[in-house]
């Protein structure tokens, strides 16, 4: 009886770690070009990899060049937890990437980062 009773009190402690319908949010795992890094020449595309699967219909990314003009071309492509967008190079300087994504578990997140182009 004592063993059974103990079991009933140990089980809840373990059980309660289970969160059931816990929600998550997609965070940026890494990007190419790398966040904050410098590359020698303008990239043809920017690829962002997230920690969760994304919903293409509600995920987007914009890239602006050194003078503030939009340099992303066409619609962002989403596959699984990756999102890519083509970029037209406009020379050396700081590029800003702004993203907004919806993970498959319905949570929206956004963020931004920069990378440098130059020698």
């Amino acid at each position: 009886m004592r063993i059974q009773s103990s079991t009933f009190f140990v089980i809840p402690l373990l059980l309660l770690l289970a969160s059931g319908e816990a929600g998550a949010h997609a965070t940026l795992d890494h990007a190419e070009p790398r966040v904050g890094n410098k590359v020698a020449s303008p990239p043809h595309e920017v690829t962002l990899t997230f920690t969760q699967k994304l919903e293409p219909a509600f995920s987007s990314v914009t890239v602006t060049g050194p003078s503030g003009q939009r340099v992303d071309v066409g619609k962002a492509r989403v596959s699984g937890n990756q999102m890519s967008v083509s970029v037209k190079g406009v020379g050396a300087g700081t590029y800003h990437v702004n993203w907004r994504v919806l993970s498959v578990d319905t949570h929206t997140t956004d963020g931004s980062f920069t990378f440098q182009v130059g020698p």
Binding site: S5, P12, L17, G20, T51, K53, F58, T106
Partner: protein, 319 residues
């Protein structure tokens, strides 16, 4: 990084939907695996029990459908970034329903509701009873695809989905089954025949042990994926809500232990005052357990809107 905040309406819709789903599915499971075998030779008691539980099942199913629809509208507003009144358009809703996993799963779950409703209407045949049970289980376990488990990547994602689906069904069987157990024990013909109560409590006790076992195993998997460490449990908002859930769950299991180890054996004293007292206490404890279980479902509704603990304590050095 700006995390979007989920509002009280979304938490309320989720909590109501989880509770209504648990009540519906748990009642169906109780009816098939507990009430039907125990009452197969007691026609009057079976009819009386059916009259008591059928309105509960219908009300729960309707509430699950309404709260599910409201949940979809709130998600449409959240996904589109627009106020609710502007998000409720054919354009936005068709995109959400047709182009997101949440929308597709919601459509499938609506199909389960319709199938279950049809089976409840035509439940005289054995086939429709089992089909109804299958639809109920599908209605519960498909919730896993609307949560974190549905977006976990790689092989871990399949494990997470399987664990979460089983977790939801087991929790629904337990919490919803408790409500049916109370209805069973308070049905007049059954209340007056302690042997029926003893058989049902014994059967539910077995169902409870199986449910707890499944919830335990799948909970460990979920914990490893979503929490990861005791530090994450105490250092994050997610962890603190989870700790509150732990306290409620501990209380719930304590009552379950009293019911199983102390009160159930006393039902064997048929016709004696001791068994009547034990039966009254069983009903009271089961009601408290149910209330605690519903409270836990509210916490699950909140947890789903918070950032999982494991992500908040991980260094973001992979960039």
């Amino acid at each position: 990084m700006d995390w979007s905040a989920a509002g009280a309406p979304l938490i309320a819709a989720r909590a109501v939907h989880f509770a209504a789903t648990a009540m519906t599915v748990g009642s169906i499971i109780f009816g098939v695996f507990i009430a039907k075998p125990v009452l197969r030779h007691h026609i009057a008691a079976a009819i009386s029990f059916r009259r008591r539980t059928r309105p509960i099942i219908w009300a729960s199913l309707v509430l699950a459908a309404i709260s599910g629809a409201f949940w979809l509208l709130l998600e449409a507003a959240s996904m589109s970034g627009m106020p609710l009144e502007k998000a409720v358009t054919a354009d936005v809703l068709s995109t959400v329903v047709g182009e997101t996993q949440f929308g597709e799963v919601t459509t499938i779950r609506a199909g389960f509701v319709i199938c279950l409703a049809a089976c409840l209407v035509y439940d005289r045949a054995v086939t429709t009873q089992w089909l109804g049970l299958a639809a109920a289980v599908g209605f519960a376990c498909s919730l896993a695809w609307t949560g974190h488990a549905g977006s976990t990547i790689g092989v871990e994602g399949y494990l997470h989905l399987a664990a979460d689906a089983l977790h939801v069904v087991a929790a629904a069987a337990w919490i919803g089954g408790l409500a049916s157990l109370i209805a069973f024990l308070t049905t007049t013909q059954i209340h007056d025949d302690t042997s029926l109560a003893r058989d049902a409590v014994g059967g539910f006790s077995t169902l409870g042990v199986v449910s707890v076992g499944v919830v335990l195993l799948t909970g460990v998997v979920n914990a490893a994926i979503l929490v990861g460490s005791l530090h994450a449990l105490v250092a994050t908002e997610y962890g603190r809500v989870l700790t509150l859930k732990i306290g409620s769950f501990a209380a719930m299991l304590a009552y379950a232990a009293i019911n199983r180890l102390r009160l159930t054996p006393q039902l064997a004293f048929i016709g004696q005052e001791q068994s009547s007292v034990a039966l009254r206490r069983l009903i009271r404890n089961s009601a408290i357990e149910t209330a605690l279980g519903l409270g836990i479902l509210v916490m699950v509704g909140v947890l789903g809107t918070l950032h999982p603990a494991i992500h908040l304590v991980e260094p973001e050095s992979s960039w």
